[in-house]
Symmetry: C2
Subunit: 363 residues, 2 copies
């Protein structure tokens, strides 16, 4: 598994620094970006590819794009998805042409639902959820994969540019279904450049780097087409409440989804692993270990956007002033507020789906 | 290479009977088909899959389809292509809904030409050539792969139905480009059934069987969709003029293309391998061996549609009455006539491309 991360499975990435080395990434540099968001400031966004060209485009007010995809199969979205949307929102505010592709083909093929059902789920829930999380629907272009002939046609062309061995070296396996969906993703990533060459940034979890790498490899083999190499920024995983690296649906008691019943979430948070000591006495004496605390990580990644407040919590924990029980109470409160706001915004967004801007394709 | 034929390369198939066994084909049975054409009567069409359902549909006047593809990359078409068109023509006359897909995506991706150029070549030459060879343009539906979103979307779905190992077992390799083009071909083969379930027949050279087999495997895994398993009929290769099994562009001196300068063709035919003996005396005594004669095979496959006349030639050769020189003269004459007629029909067909019926796709 050296040099390889499986974007479909959940693979533990124990040391993010090691990943940067192994994958040939750059450390993310928030100084390149005006008014970086809290994920960027806190190194939750920890790595990047070609971040300079995006920072430059923002600074010089040149055209660039930000893009992400939605697979509209599940009934809920993973709590970690919130980070993708926050980063999209950031670039959108900085002037990015923003694209959301709805991977209805992938949802249909992987989950055995019809394309119609996949579209319905996207319209009824997934897109509204993204809007509830901060995406500006007025500034976003949407398309369904199954509508986008150009993407499919280009995927066909791109596939000829790589060999089985190269694919396998990146992904570890090469089943036809995986190849097909990957090649379409490569084309999706470049789609905004089909009609206007410009830099673009894909905000992703680190497990998605293989797609970015493959896309960049292919662009370099399509020299005559002069695509810009896509940039990417990578955020860390949201950890599982039990302390393991990645929150996963396979452990529902350690995973938060959106939407989810606040009472259930509180119950889960109460059991979450913290950086507390064996006894209260010990903790008062030695202080806690916020670096190991899932509750602190949730606040850092998701619930607390004020850096000073977060810093105060860190210090109070470190010096043994803030005990885990008290801290969890506050975090639960913030979580309940967030969930209530999400539900409220979701309800509103559902009413606005008729205002979505879908790309019009010529036949 | 057991149980495997590479539809992209030229692999010698030494014993057609063996192929029938190995691939699990049926012997072609011309009695199942009303007024079989000369290829069928002479066992140039030698094998089939599910031929019964097509014979039945013809007999009962039930809907069925015949389909073939054009890859519009080369400047000329292979002489052997004539057989595909003749078989299409046969089914068309028997009432088949006839489809020609233009594999512009394949042409563009494999040859590095633009989609526009691929389309231009199809309209300027390949489609007119098919019409010149006998396809009834008024009864044929055409589409360009790059226009057909439904085919691309279905290819995506089909790809999830097979594994890398299954693909490799059929094709011997599994490069992403090959997988992508194969999955699209599978969807092309089934396309006429997307909106109307009916049997269909694909007339192909035996080297194309992997696509048929894979399509049938996939249909069997899509039970809920109730596609008819596609039927196929298989014709033998047109042999190389030097006597090897398959006429190939890689040996231009042993290959005939359409169109080609008659004088050049005659020069090539003069050098073609025959079933003649070492000396005229010996041949007069023992008779020739038409089974081994490329000239005879060309007449059987392509130039002489009258069975009685062909039979007479066979007998005259066998009994030592017809010498190779004399036979070649006549064959050359027939070839020149055929080439002239082809050119004449091609010129006419080029003027009629505006009458082609392209399938209209909704967006």
């Amino acid at each position: 598994m050296k040099n390889m991360i499986d974007p479909w499975g959940s693979v533990l990435v124990k040391d993010y620094e090691k990943v940067i080395d192994q994958f040939g990434l750059d450390n993310f540099n928030p100084k390149l970006f005006p008014e970086p968001n809290s994920l960027m400031r806190r190194q939750v966004v920890f790595a990047a590819r070609d971040q300079g060209q995006i920072g430059h485009a923002i600074l010089k007010k040149k055209p660039f794009y930000a893009l992400s995809g939605i697979v509209p199969s599940a009934e809920k979205i993973h709590f970690g998805t919130k980070m993708v949307v926050e980063n999209l929102e950031y670039f959108q505010e900085q002037g990015a042409k923003t694209y959301i592709l709805v991977a209805d083909l992938e949802a249909a093929a992987a989950r055995g639902i019809s394309l119609e059902e996949a579209r319905k789920r996207a319209m009824d829930f997934h897109i509204p959820a993204y809007i509830a999380l901060g995406l500006d629907l007025k500034k976003t272009f949407f398309y369904f994969q199954s509508d986008n002939k150009e993407v499919m046609n280009k995927a066909y062309e791109f596939a000829k540019k790589i060999t089985y061995n190269e694919f396998k070296a990146i992904y570890g396996s090469a089943d036809p279904g995986k190849i097909m969906s990957t090649m379409v993703q490569v084309a999706d990533i470049l789609y905004p450049q089909f009609h206007e060459r410009m830099p673009g940034v894909i905000p992703v979890g680190i497990d998605q780097d293989p797609h970015i790498r493959l896309t960049r490899d292919i662009v370099q083999r399509m020299k005559s087409e002069k695509f810009f190499l896509p940039s990417a920024i990578y955020h860390k995983f949201t950890p599982s409440l039990d302390g393991s690296l990645k929150m996963s649906k396979s452990k529902p008691e350690s995973c938060i989804e959106l939407p989810e019943d606040p009472e259930k979430v509180i119950k889960k948070l109460k059991k979450a692993k913290t950086g507390g000591r064996e006894t209260v006495e010990e903790q008062k004496k030695k202080g806690g270990e916020p670096e190991k605390c899932i509750i602190f990580e949730l606040e850092k990644q998701h619930l607390l956007h004020d850096d000073k407040e977060l810093d105060q919590i860190y210090k109070d924990c470190k010096c043994g002033k803030l005990m885990c029980g008290e801290h969890k109470e506050k975090t639960c409160q913030r979580m309940v507020e967030f969930l209530a706001e999400f539900e409220r915004k979701l309800a509103k967004a559902k009413k606005n789906v008729n205002k979505l801007k879908f790309i019009k394709f010529r036949n």
